[in-house]
């Protein structure tokens, strides 16, 4: 018998209770009240700010100009983007407006030395946002590499108000859950941080030191 078989045999030997499937927490029976839809945007922004993120409330028309101003304030000279249409438009816009920021879209395997040592900021696009915890859902894949939202010191994530959901439970019960799951699905709720030295909070532990959330409002 293999270890696997021996472990499973021992587990099957045990007396266990019989429990039906735990009913999913949805709508009225949820014990943790989710914020009302009208409050989702405020809740998301507040939670993100509480977690040291900067929220850029903007819209479809002006977001690229608003973001460019932030990039200039952060002295970004090299921006790395995923390989999606939004990134293509951003790249085009920045190239037309500024000579100081080199914007690159990732199209081939990422070189570690480049992303670790030369890139100042990474631009990602979220597929959903969770109001109750201030979280952004990132589905990585060919268009959205894993390291873009992890390695550069400045992490920028774009999300639309229409993609807001109440919380993680609501998201997990919704049709937003990708099937099959992407190889890496992330909830990001702030810049990297640690309190491992005497409970003192410090940002930029290993990943991004700052997070800018570009929120495209419906209005």
């Amino acid at each position: 018998m293999s270890s696997r078989e021996r472990i499973l045999a021992r587990l099957r030997q045990a007396a266990v209770g019989d429990s039906p499937r735990v009913p999913q927490a949805v709508s009225s029976d949820r014990v943790w009240p989710a914020p009302d839809k009208a409050d989702w945007l405020d809740a998301l922004c507040q939670n993100l700010r509480d977690n040291h993120a900067e929220v850029l409330l903007t819209d479809q028309q002006t977001w690229m100009a608003d973001l460019l101003a932030r990039l200039q304030k952060y002295n970004v000279s090299r921006l790395l983007c995923g390989n999606h249409d939004t990134a293509a438009r951003l790249q085009q816009y920045i190239q037309s407006q500024s000579d100081d920021i080199d914007t690159q879209r990732v199209t081939t395997d990422i070189e570690k030395e480049v992303i670790f040592q030369q890139v100042d900021a990474g631009f990602s696009v979220a597929s959903a946002a969770l109001a109750e915890t201030g979280s952004l859902v990132i589905e990585t894949g060919p268009q959205e590499p894993r390291t873009v939202s992890l390695v550069p010191p400045l992490n920028i994530i774009l999300v639309r108000q229409s993609q807001l959901q109440a919380d993680f439970s609501a998201w997990a019960a919704s049709t937003s859950v990708p099937d099959p799951m992407p190889t890496n699905l992330l909830l990001i709720s702030g810049p990297s941080k640690t309190a491992d030295i005497q409970q003192t909070l410090a940002y930029g532990a290993h990943g991004p030191k700052s997070l800018i959330v570009v929120m495209l409002t419906d209005a």
Partner: protein
């Protein structure tokens, strides 16, 4: 090298030696040493108060908290009730996703498996995300002996490894150190890739910045990453990791090879089970609504993807868990989601700290897990470090009845029938009866007898009253020494309560003494 640096390094070496000497001591000696260390007590008191307040601040509504705890308990119990099936489903779906699954019965087997995977891939340098199971199986030590460099990357774990110590808390591993101690440690021992030291600083941002620079270099160049798992989702074949620092993501994303290691109890059935366990975990552990990162891994890099590990492996570790699973009372041990709230709320842990327990898992959950994994003979003493005040049971987000489990283990430890590692009977704790002593059991037998038969009870109380001078004398002192060494000796009254009320004219009710007599 500057003279001051030589001196600092000598001091750090001496401290490390003190630490390993302390770890060789008996539990009671370690506890005493911890109690006498003011700096240590300040660290733990401060951390416990801080973490308790943080947790309370994110559970403002007690009714909602209690309801959520019940759901957490139900989810975990459901998972355990279907554990073998869920493990098979998990394996099937992980395999379909391209994640290779391995099973290990023992710590040694797990270490050998992991080493085998590393060796197959010629991996010489490893970065590690936080994993208590890897501490439990002493993986670093094993790999080090095989010539593989294994670097802890969680900030707290990194500092603890740099000091040559072990974690003192499962969530905040370096909780026992203050920032002055960490400043000395970093200055004395930390080295950048090109062999440079780091300047002395007590500024936390600078300390973290220095460690960040060192560790990012390591992430970039490591051959493999080893991480733990907080939850494994059977239906989707997904490994979930909870973290704030980003080192978990680095470990599981940047190197070509990722090996995850976890206990077999960490599986849940469905994605729908995850949100509530996650919120219970982060709120109970550090008082956060959610951690900075929740990392869900469902496969290695696909051909058209531009980054991520080329191989992902999961090592499922039993190491005694299937025995815990078979115990009729102790099975809820496996409900644990490793938040650390029980230790944060434990008045004993707050005073003696994590190292006194001498085990990977300290505090109440450690007192329950460790003797079951390692046996009662070697690990049964820590069961006495509990006043049964119940704080841990009330804090536990998945309602593990920790005080009841500690009591059950005390019973098992003192069971009249000694069983040594009896594989035949899985429903018993390893080394049951190891702590039983003849003297103690005779005293308890007599005590029980005296409380059953009133004449015997009166005789006992009278002789204590008569002999009370003797008890406080030198003979008594010697007899009671094991108790009175660290406690005030009880003073017997000259008259028993019975005698006093009798004297005041309160008569015994007729027949009262007859009640219990046959």
């Amino acid at each position: 090298m500057a003279e001051s640096m030589i001196k600092l390094r000598d001091e750090l070496d001496a401290e490390q030696q003190d630490f390993s000497d302390m770890q060789q001591q008996h539990f009671k000696v370690r506890a005493r040493m911890a109690l006498e260390n003011d700096a240590l007590r300040n660290s733990f008191r401060g951390a416990s108060d801080f973490l308790m307040a943080k947790r309370a601040s994110v559970f403002p509504d007690d009714e909602a908290l209690q309801a959520l705890r019940s759901r957490g308990e139900a989810i975990r119990q459901h998972s355990l009730n279907h554990l073998p099936d869920l493990l098979e489903t998990l394996e099937k779906n992980l395999t379909a996703n391209g994640i290779r699954v391995h099973w290990a019965e023992t710590a040694d087997e797990a270490c050998a498996l992991i080493h085998g995977i590393l060796a197959d891939n010629n991996a010489r340098t490893v970065v590690k995300g936080k994993s208590m199971v890897s501490e439990e199986i002493e993986l670093n030590h094993y790999l080090q002996e095989k010539g593989i460099e294994c670097l802890e990357s969680d900030m707290g774990e990194y500092l603890v490894q740099l000091a040559g110590e072990t974690p003192s808390h499962i969530i905040m591993p370096a909780i026992h150190k203050n920032k002055e101690q960490i400043a000395r440690l970093m200055h004395g021992r930390a080295e950048t890739a090109d062999g440079q030291g780091v300047p002395y600083t007590e500024d936390v941002d600078e300390l973290i910045g220095n460690a960040r620079a060192i560790l990012r270099e390591k992430f970039m160049n490591a051959d493999a990453g080893i991480s733990g798992v907080n939850m494994a989702v059977a239906n989707t074949g997904t490994l979930c990791l909870v973290e704030n620092e980003g080192n978990g993501r680095m470990t599981t994303t940047v190197p070509k090879l990722h090996i995850a290691v976890t206990g077999i109890e960490k599986v849940v059935e469905d994605l729908a089970d995850v949100p509530e366990l996650l919120t219970l975990l982060t709120r109970s552990a550090t008082g956060q609504k959610i951690s900075t990162y929740f990392n869900m891994i469902s496969g290695p890099k696909k051909n058209d993807e531009l980054d991520g590990p080329e191989q992902v492996h999961l090592v499922l570790v039993d190491n005694g868990r299937s025995r815990i699973f078979n115990h009729p009372v102790l099975q809820p041990t496996l409900q644990c989601i490793r938040c650390g709230a029980c230790m944060n709320h434990c008045p004993v842990y707050a005073r003696v700290g994590g190292h006194a327990y001498g085990s990977t898992y300290p505090g109440p959950i450690g007192q329950v897990v460790t003797p079951q994994i390692g046996g009662l003979d070697n690990n049964g003493d820590m069961l006495s470090a509990c006043s049964l005040n119940g704080a841990c049971g009330e804090a536990c987000p998945v309602r593990i009845p920790l005080p009841a489990l500690i009591r059950e283990l005390r019973h098992e430890a003192n069971h009249p029938q000694f069983i040594n590692a009896a594989d035949a009977d899985l429903t018993r704790v390893k080394q049951r009866g190891a702590k039983r002593s003849l003297g103690e059991s005779i005293i308890w037998k007599g005590w029980a007898l005296a409380h059953r038969y009133p004449p015997l009870y009166q005789m006992m109380s009278r002789s204590i009253a008569i002999g009370r001078g003797l008890l406080s004398g030198s003979l008594g002192n010697r007899l009671l020494a094991p108790w009175t060494d660290s406690r005030t000796a009880p003073k017997a009254a000259a008259q028993s309560l019975h005698q006093m009320v009798k004297k005041r004219g309160v008569a015994s009710q007729p027949g009262q003494h007859k009640e219990h007599e046959q």
